[in-house]
């Protein structure tokens, strides 16, 4: 029988042809997806009637952007990436990496000059060009600063990699001081610097660190013990309400209530743990999800105690270990004791260091526990429960301690949250919070403290940074609020990280047992999401 061999070369398309085809498909898919999302918009008019606004121009823009993006990626992006892996025949070297071509000395100098000039002549330029382009100039300035930071990180990457933990902790400790110093220089007064630092210390610093602490606490349950907990926010809520109620009703100090709230959350962790001892994976996730919702519904409906949806306000501030307070009216107000100018920034900076301390405590306890029998048992439990039991490990107590420890840190974070806000309501403890905390743990690489901290910084810092992008209003119109898109950012980050680094930012893990030298264990060849 004669076999005809079809000539393959006929059907092989050049990258450009293939890119055109793929661009067409991408455009078609985008059109199908967005025709109702973007092409049509429903709204209300003055007489309360439903009106349909057609936005074909915007739809066309989105579709064209998608098609062009796909074309560029397939025609130029993919061949470029492939070329990066091919060594030069003559020299035997790989091509210069994108990084070293992007971060060059001339570009660095240009960025320094641009940043300095824009900082120095910020106000005069704004007056000269008008308010609108000044927004773009500020954006340009931010880009220059980011580029400079990236340059420094790129060229010192070996050093940073080797001393990441030390550098990270130093940076976190110095952060408020640096912020106040830079802003004081910028405003030419310390009071102005303190005032300006509020946003940076509170919205960025404290906010991120709360999530770092929550994610590290959840990491004990999910990352180490492998018990998927979707209701972690319940412990956060318990801690917050424990502090809020006991402080407002009985006037107890934060320093007594912090451990009390932690213990109470831990107790509830054990109570949750008992019924779910036999459950794993999906089933455990559903029960914990329900637990989170039950706690929230109790908080809403038990009006006599929790004041329902209205929440509890007037929660007292934390005192400086009982020596000084942060209430202006008190005789031992910090500014009166130390004879300095009154400012609300002191309290924020104090809270920053407090949550930083709590975070470091969480990290320290986690690292210590991993080396103790109970921590090792957690990790073994995650891998194989039956093997654990046949090695003489009591899986019941192991699971309960994991729930209790994780819950305790959630309780600590909760009481801190209540003290910082001065107000708690069930609104703050919805399922979305649990999902965000879990997303941070997964993105960071389950079990990795550094990865989780970086993930929290990117995700929470990123959503906060969206608030700063006011210049986008000039592109998308005045009713464009960038912070509404923070969940989109979360989703995109999840998809991107899971595509490129399916084991999270930091997939490798430190072994707890070693003969001579400690070596990180690579995550290659392990299952996705199992760093």
């Amino acid at each position: 029988m004669a076999v005809t061999v079809s000539r393959e070369s006929d059907s092989v398309a050049t990258p450009t042809q293939r890119a055109l085809k793929e661009a067409f498909y991408a455009g078609a898919i985008a059109l199908g997806l967005f025709v109702l999302f973007i092409g049509l918009k429903t709204g209300q008019n003055m007489s309360n009637e439903l009106v349909l606004t057609q936005r074909w121009g915007l739809l066309a823009a989105v579709v064209i952007a998608t098609a062009v993006g796909r074309f560029l990626y397939v025609a130029y992006g993919q061949p470029f990436m492939a070329n990066q892996k091919i060594a030069n025949v003559a020299t035997g070297l790989l091509p210069a990496s994108v990084g070293s071509r992007f971060f060059t000395l001339p570009a660095f100098i240009v960025a320094v000059v641009a940043a300095v000039l824009l900082f120095l002549f910020n106000s005069s330029l704004a007056g000269w060009v008008g308010a609108e382009p000044a927004g773009y100039l500020q954006f340009l300035r931010a880009l220059a600063v980011i580029y400079l930071l990236a340059c420094v990180i790129y060229y010192f990457r070996a050093f940073i990699h080797a001393n990441f933990t030390k550098l990270g902790i130093t940076a976190l400790v110095l952060y408020p001081i640096l912020v106040v110093a830079v802003l004081s220089l910028n405003a030419w007064s310390i009071a102005g610097g303190l005032q300006g630092s509020l946003k940076w210390v509170d919205n960025f610093g404290i906010q991120i660190l709360i999530y770092v602490m929550l994610a590290w606490g959840l990491n004990i349950v999910v990352g180490l013990a492998g018990l998927l907990d979707l209701g972690y926010v319940a412990f956060y809520a318990l801690g917050a309400y424990a502090y809020a109620l006991l402080a407002t009703q009985y006037g107890l100090s934060f320093w007594i209530l912090l451990p009390a709230a932690g213990c109470m959350a831990a107790l509830w962790g054990v109570l949750l743990g008992f019924p779910v001892l036999r459950l794993r994976g999906d089933y455990l996730a559903i029960v914990t999800l329900a637990f989170g919702e039950i706690i929230r519904l109790v908080l809403i409906n038990w009006r006599e105690v929790t004041n329902g949806s209205a929440g509890i306000s007037g929660i007292p501030k934390v005192s400086f270990f009982g020596l000084m307070t942060f209430n202006v009216s008190d005789p031992n107000y910090i500014a009166k004791v130390l004879h300095i100018a009154t400012s609300s920034a002191y309290y924020k900076i104090f809270l920053y260091y407090l949550i930083l301390g709590l975070c470091l405590l969480t990290a320290f306890v986690t690292i210590r526990l991993r080396r103790l029998p109970v921590g090792r048992a957690w990790e073994a439990l995650r891998e194989d429960e039956i093997a654990c039991r046949s090695l003489g490990i009591n899986t019941t107590t192991t699971k309960l301690t994991a729930f209790a420890t994780g819950a305790m840190f959630g309780g600590f974070a909760g009481s801190f949250f209540a003290a910082r806000q001065g107000f708690v309501s069930p609104e703050s403890f919805v399922f979305l919070e649990s999902a965000i905390i879990l997303a941070i743990v997964v993105l960071g690489g389950m079990g990795s403290l550094v990865g989780i901290a970086v993930a929290a910084m990117v995700m929470i810092g990123g959503t906060e940074a969206l608030r700063e992008l006011d210049f986008l209003k000039q592109i998308f119109g005045p009713d464009f609020t960038p912070e509404l898109y923070r969940m989109l950012l979360f989703g995109m980050a999840m998809v991107i990280v899971m595509l490129w680094k399916p084991r999270g930012f930091v997939g490798s893990r430190e072994p707890t047992a070693f003969l001579k030298e400690r070596r990180a264990v690579s995550s290659s060849f392990t299952k996705e999401g199992h760093g």
Binding site: E379, D384, L391, T395, A513, V521, T526
Partner: protein, 242 residues
Amino acid sequence: MAGTTLLDIKGVETYYGNIRALNGVDVTVKEGEIVALIGANGAGKSTLMMTIFGAPRARTGTITFAGTDITQLPTHEIARMRIAQSPEGRRIFPRMTVMENLQMGASLDNLKHYDEDVEKVFTLFPRLKERIAQRGGTLSGGEQQMLSIGRALMARPKLLLLDEPSLGLAPLIVKQIFDAIRELNRTQGLTVFLVEQNAFGALKLATRGYVMVNGNVTMSGTGKELLANPEVRAAYLEGGHH
């Protein structure tokens, strides 16, 4: 080698729901012996192994270990009686390193004899020492089996249960592993209860053997007797190249 009875299984019946997997099994293991349990797939060998550990639990009958009734004890309490197991499918911890796996084996004594015992395991299985910092899941099948046995040995067991140590391994590796078991028994007097499909290898290694069919022990005797038995030969050995 007839020492005192270490493990005594009497009239054990085990059920999976309504399905009876063990049909009144009697097995004894004396101190210092290597006892092999052979049988076809689904005969109930692994079920017996797991029943000793209380998962699943025996519905009737008693299991006595060193004079103590362990039939109703929780699994981890049974392990604390110094019965160690290299379970079916090895069940090592795939994401933990070789060292960490061995460490988990020593959790009973809270690592008191850890350094000493780790050296012993590495003398027995030098291959494991080369793989020290590697994750368990990235080891080859034979290395995983060695790790599983090594992990069980870290608990300083009085009785070692091995469930199909030769499963899926190359003949050379099987020989290494059987040699190691013989070595342990000879030098340290370790009592071993072994479940095997590889009847020839197991019976050659064993002091005594049991044959299991459909949840019943149908035959027992010394390893040599069973090897010579025509029925055993017909059912488990013929057609092999031994």
